[in-house]
Symmetry: D2
């Protein structure tokens, strides 16, 4: 399966800026989520479908590498790329300037399946994820 990708556009609003007049570093988790949602929706397995399938997928790992600051009204493209899915959902992120294409930020999140309602962690992704992705379900899928 080729790596699935999704992109969203965003323009930096005033309320995301800090006194240094750049986006405060903690706001990038929201930006990543905009692109992650688009990616998950591209294979019909976003938050409502996750819940309906009997699983939550909490983020267990977040990393952000800030290459260049983001400034007021800058137009950016946030790209999310699905890197791993067999045992966990690993998604890479890249933020680029919409005009110049310059790379401004990199990062990733890792999510794992948790069986609802007992909240037990799955060490192999559940079959529903493979179905949604259109890839064969491994023997040991939850």
């Amino acid at each position: 399966m080729p790596h699935r990708k999704a992109e969203v556009q965003w323009q930096i609003p005033f309320h995301d800026l800090d006194p240094m007049e750049v986006v405060w570093h903690g706001n990038y988790a929201r930006y990543f989520e905009y692109a992650r949602t688009a990616l998950l929706q591209s294979f019909d397995y976003d938050y409502p479908q996750m819940r309906e399938s009997g699983y939550a997928w909490p983020v267990i790992d977040l990393a952000v590498r800030y290459v260049r600051p983001l400034v007021y009204q800058q137009r950016i493209v946030i790209r999310a790329t699905l890197m791993e899915w067999e045992h966990r959902l690993k998604i890479n992120y890249e933020i680029r300037d919409a005009q110049s294409g310059e790379r401004l930020t990199r990062g990733h999140t890792v999510q794992v399946a948790v069986k609802l309602p007992q909240m037990s962690m799955c060490f192999v992704s559940p079959a529903i994820l493979f179905d949604k992705l259109g890839v064969p379900v491994p023997c040991d899928a939850a």
Copy 2:
């Protein structure tokens, strides 16, 4: 120099929760900042002193490892520990349950000095940081 530490207490408010009734993962950057501020103030080099000294210290790296979710009104202790300072400020974070002491979250941030107003990055921390920390200034300090 022994590792400098600072701790703050926090209690989880309603507006930090998501529909899964746990703290939304992006809010932890705020929690880390509460402890980082206390740590930087402990050696009198918080945001106003940084600015006055002619340097900004943007966060260039953030990592969060979510071990256990945080729930409504849970009392937590957020600890920040200064790990590196010679070339960059690396701070580790640990969130524990205030009652049980159970570790709930780990993470770190990395900041680098940027000379104001030209915004040029320093590859060695400026002398002011060593002064504030009460450690000898290396020959190559900015």
Copy 3:
């Protein structure tokens, strides 16, 4: 019944500031919530107890009057005062400087009871609220 009150202390963090180096106006809703939670807990009817009682209490009205800006590391006191409860929960807020006592902000929220799970709005507060407040239940209570 005398007006019930609750107060919390808060110190302005970096991430609540905007480029004008004052707290961005939208963050005050969080500050009000810190005091409202303390007020609701003082009569044991905070979010978990509301839910358990079969009612949600969404905020239907918010007003904030910004008298003076709030600045970095300023210590403030946020006071919430219960003004009405018979047909709706109206709470007034006041933010003062912790040292000088100067009034910096005023505001209010209005919440109404909504019967779960059908989400029907109550035009009279439910009996549980009067019980919690220790006041007589009116004949027409929900």
Copy 4:
């Protein structure tokens, strides 16, 4: 002068939801700002132009009336309408469902001009605002 208006579209993201699975009431200030920015840009007097003109325009009043909750992935239209400008900037807001057109939220903000850097409040709007709006400058303009 006819009332100036601007509209922006928005889709409700996961991180704006609270445990009741509706948008937490404090997030609407961000939504209003998306539309206010579009409105101010329509007459070339947004935050950077304000600052350059020697004035800050802090929000001194915010009101939100929540008619209907906003839910995950709902598409909304946020409209900002300029109501007053002679002594203060009063902007009204209306949020509607993008599909049905049903009105979901109403509100307003009031901003006043503050002369930089002394931060003295203007009781009449400065001439620059009238210029930008293309209306005659009153005799008593700042």
